[in-house]
């Protein structure tokens, strides 16, 4: 970062050409004052914009509805009963008391402590002393199984649990959301045909879920349902505005759940100021007083349906307070059926636990040990040790799914950090976690298995000391197996046997330069890793860029890399930061994934045959948001390439005859 800060100062900026600006502005103003008819559009637009601006800036953080009773708009479901690690608040007073007490301990002379995430930097030589336990387990018990996209075309973490995306399909109609507009396409014919489109007032930054005849648009702080029973005439239905951001969403059939994270309130903190006689102690005292003066509205999220009155999402009494220390904040799970958003079910926990993993029948919320690591996680974060605002442990809350609501099932605590949702997985009631080291643990990573006993998640098995000093960059879970990639300078890919939860065991490891940020299982024998590594550059030198690797995992104790595809120096694989930029077409043994270079995005068509991969690059996007490119697989081995402006079929047929390449 300091390099960037230096570059900021180094930008050669001359003096402001103020005269020139004034001259140009005066000239414009004169043109502007001429016939009102021609320029009135501009005048009105500017007025409206400025007015909206003045009004808009007062919306943040103002005290909303006081008191704790939610209005008629929300609720209706059963209240989750808490016990043990989580206790229901019982009253607004008790809940506020919790927030204030915890907040006062957290606030310092400058406001909330540790405002910026602490970035630990790499240093020192790489010393790896991997202690491998080669288990005597029959490797055929642990198996890699293929991963395919969800029914709506999104490359999801868990089969049967859908996630929001920019593009959704039911196989016949494809829906694309971009820049505040939902567009539908017919994908049954020989060409992708646009059907209809509807503009939705709202933030451009949103994604969609598809449930039957409803598209649910989920924005950072807003939910909008759209009736798409007629794709030519899509109708917006209900809109819900929230005062806290939606961190993530999950879909099980027609039930949708949003995880909403309410952070620490922005208060008017004072700072020590020697000139004004404000000492550090005095500043802290004043800031603590500010925290004491907060009301419940500062800590709990509120919602308004169809621009109606704002109501608190949860009844104070039902918010669960952790019995032991947990990062301060509020995490709310809002569940609803796509056809009736306003009749939602709420479960709220007075802790910042927004790292979310959902299996087909449970939702797990984990606290982030590091300040600033949010629910989305960062797949390639590389601090040696995850910085902790707390005690270097992670609390996991287990919520059982019940219709559109959730039922509290239990909680547990482990030493170490859960980096992001990929580090969690549940199979047959066993929760598996890939843990990164914290200030409270040793230097190695760990895989831990937990089982619920009553309302406690108890550790049943553990494998420690995995790649000490290295960062977990990718994890893939299977029924009986975990594949873990760690990185320091070389990429050990570890396979871990989980067939016996009480004794996870290391099966094997593979060392290759570079690292995979994303692992995609192609079947029992093949695994694709996409990430970065050394790539050949001009003049016989070696540079660094995006890379794809094909691994043979037939023998899990001896994983071998069969082939690599190197992309241009300076390129990056889109799937490394967003798994939705990859699709696997098993019928034609082809992977399509986005590779970006600067502001140009290509689709890399990787064809697998006989243990080798061939690559063909198709230009996809130039200049606009390469991150928004999506590849949606459809029946019949077809793929739709969706960019910010367009949706069309991508020709992925293998070249026939002598080198018959598709044109760029």
């Amino acid at each position: 970062m300091t390099d960037l800060e230096r570059l900021w100062d180094d930008v050669p900026v001359g003096p402001a050409p103020t005269d020139r600006i004034l001259r140009a502005a005066r000239r414009e103003q004169r043109a502007w004052r001429r016939p009102l008819l021609r320029s009135s559009g501009t005048v009105l637009a500017l007025g409206a914009l400025a007015a909206a601006f003045v009004a808009g800036t007062s919306v943040t953080g103002g005290p909303g509805g006081r008191g704790g009773t939610p209005g008629a708009g929300g609720g209706g479901g059963d209240v989750a009963e808490f016990s043990g690690a989580l206790v229901a608040a019982g009253s607004c007073e008790a809940l506020l008391e919790h927030y204030v007490a915890a907040g006062q301990e957290l606030v310092g002379p400058w406001g909330w402590e540790q405002q910026w995430p602490v970035m630990a930097r790499a240093g020192g030589a790489a010393l790896r002393d991997l202690t491998l336990q080669r288990g005597g387990f029959a490797a055929d018990q642990a198996k890699v199984t293929r991963a395919t996209s969800s029914d709506t075309g999104t490359n999801v973490q868990e089969a049967g649990v859908d996630e929001p995306d920019l593009v959704k399909t039911d196989g016949e109609v494809l829906y694309r959301y971009a820049d505040g507009r939902l567009t539908s396409y017919d994908v049954t014919g020989p060409e992708v045909e646009r059907i209809g489109s509807v503009a939705l007032a709202g933030t451009a930054d949103a994604e969609i879920l598809l449930a039957g005849d409803t598209v649910v648009v989920v924005g950072d702080d807003r939910v909008q349902t759209v009736d798409v029973s007629d794709p030519a005439a899509m109708e917006p239905r209900t809109r819900v505005d929230l005062t806290s951001p939606v961190v993530t969403a999950r879909q099980h059939g027609d039930d949708l759940r949003l995880v909403i994270s309410t952070g620490l309130p922005e208060l008017d903190f004072v700072q020590p100021n020697r000139r004004r006689g404000v000492t550090t102690a005095e500043a802290q005292r004043r800031n603590r007083a500010l925290v004491a003066d907060t009301t419940i509205a500062d800590w709990l999220p509120r919602a308004s349906v169809d621009r109606g009155p704002e109501e608190q999402l949860s009844d104070c009494a039902d918010v669960a307070i952790p019995s032991t220390t947990a990062p301060l904040g509020t995490t709310t799970v809002l569940g609803f059926g796509a056809d009736d958003v306003a009749a939602w079910d709420v479960t709220a926990i007075a802790a910042d636990a927004s790292t979310t993993y959902s299996s087909t029948d449970h939702l797990y919320l984990a606290t982030s040990s590091g300040w600033g690591w949010d629910g989305w996680g960062c797949a390639t974060c590389t601090s040696r040790v995850v910085p902790t605002a707390g005690d270097g442990t992670t609390q996991v809350f287990d919520l059982e799914l019940d219709g559109t609501g959730t039922r509290y099932a239990g909680a547990g605590r482990v030493d170490g950090a859960v980096r992001d949702r990929w580090a969690m997985d549940e199979v047959d009631g066993v929760l598996r976690l890939a843990l990164s080291p914290t200030s409270e643990t040793g230097r190695g990573n760990a895989v831990v298995t937990l089982r619920r006993d009553g309302d406690e998640l108890l550790e049943v098995g553990r494998l420690d000391d995995i790649a000490p000093g290295e960062d977990i960059t990718a994890v893939r879970w299977f029924d009986d197996l975990a594949v873990l990639v760690t990185f320091r300078q070389v990429d050990p890919l570890h396979t871990i046997d989980l067939s016996e939860p009480a004794t996870p065991a290391m099966l094997g490891e593979l060392k290759i330069p570079g690292f995979s940020s994303y692992l995609h299982p192609l079947g029992e024998r093949r695994l694709l890793g996409v990430g970065e590594g050394p790539v050949p550059a001009r003049g016989g030198r070696t540079s660094w860029g995006a890379q794809a690797g094909l691994f043979d995992v037939t023998d899990l104790t001896d994983v071998r890399r069969l082939d690599t595809v190197d992309y241009a120096p300076g390129s990056r694989a889109g799937v490394a930061s967003d798994p939705r930029q990859l699709a696997w077409l098993p019928g034609i043994r082809t992977v399509v994934t986005v590779v970006a270079h600067g502001r140009t995005g290509h689709v890399s068509v990787l064809r697998l045959a006989d243990g080798r991969m061939s690559n063909e690059l198709v230009l996809a996007e130039r200049g606009s948001d390469v991150d928004a490119v999506r590849l949606v697989p459809l029946a019949g081995d077809r793929v739709v390439l969706v960019t910010e402006d367009d949706a069309s079929y991508l020709d992925v047929r293998p070249p026939s005859g002598p080198r018959d390449r598709a044109t760029d």
Binding site: M1, D3, L4, D10, V11, P12, V13, G14, P15, A16, P17, T18, I21, L22, A24, A25, E28, Q29, W32, L46, L49, A50, A51, F53, V54, G56, T57, T60, W116, P117, M119, T203, D205, D220, D221, S244, P245, S261, W373, D374, G375, W376, C378, T380, C381, T382, S383, R488, Q489, S543, W544, G570, R572, S577, G598, R599, G623, S624, D625, D627
Partner: protein, 170 residues
């Protein structure tokens, strides 16, 4: 209308506007054009936007939109700053240094998504408050916080990799 007040503001805001435009992806000449166009636009609505908080958010919102529009289509002659002929522009800097610096910046930030980059530029480098950044980008304040940490984490990653791989980390 008080031109002196506006002129003083333009003088003071200019360097940060240009730097912000560079960090948002412009070359130096384009950044200067964008900063100029932004200030001209602000002049028009100067009397409407009074409070300091509003002004910063408004000005940077104009800048972000100007930069974004310029990337979508070729720079149009209608923009007031383009009325100034090329030779009038005082080059108080060495064009080669400018290109080196801006290239390095763009390379360093190329790993970020558009929104994340917008947030880190406004919140971290320009040092707008969370509320101002949220207003400028038309997102919720909570979004600013989460996107900022994401962006900073990604930048730390890239820097870290540069350290490890010996890539020029400038």
């Amino acid at each position: 209308m008080d031109e002196t007040e506006f002129a003083a503001y333009a003088d003071e805001a200019w360097p940060t506007l240009v730097r912000a435009a560079v960090f948002l992806g412009c070359t130096l000449p384009d950044a200067e054009d964008a900063a100029q166009a932004t200030l001209v636009k602000c002049f028009r609505s100067w009397t409407k936007v009074t409070g300091a908080d509003n002004r910063e958010a408004y000005v940077y919102r104009m800048l972000v939109n100007t930069v974004r529009d310029s990337h979508r289509r070729p720079w149009r002659r209608e923009r007031s700053s383009a009325d100034v002929p090329e030779h009038d522009r005082q080059r108080s800097h060495d064009p080669h240094v400018a290109v080196e610096v801006t290239d390095a910046v763009h390379r360093a930030l190329s790993g970020l998504s558009k929104v994340n980059r917008d947030v880190v530029v406004l919140r971290y480098f320009v040092q707008l408050t969370e509320a101002q950044t949220a207003a400028a980008l038309d997102v919720a304040p909570g979004t600013v916080k989460s996107r900022l940490s994401r962006a900073l984490a990604q930048l730390a990653t890239d820097h870290h990799l540069a350290d490890l791989t010996g890539r020029t980390s400038s």
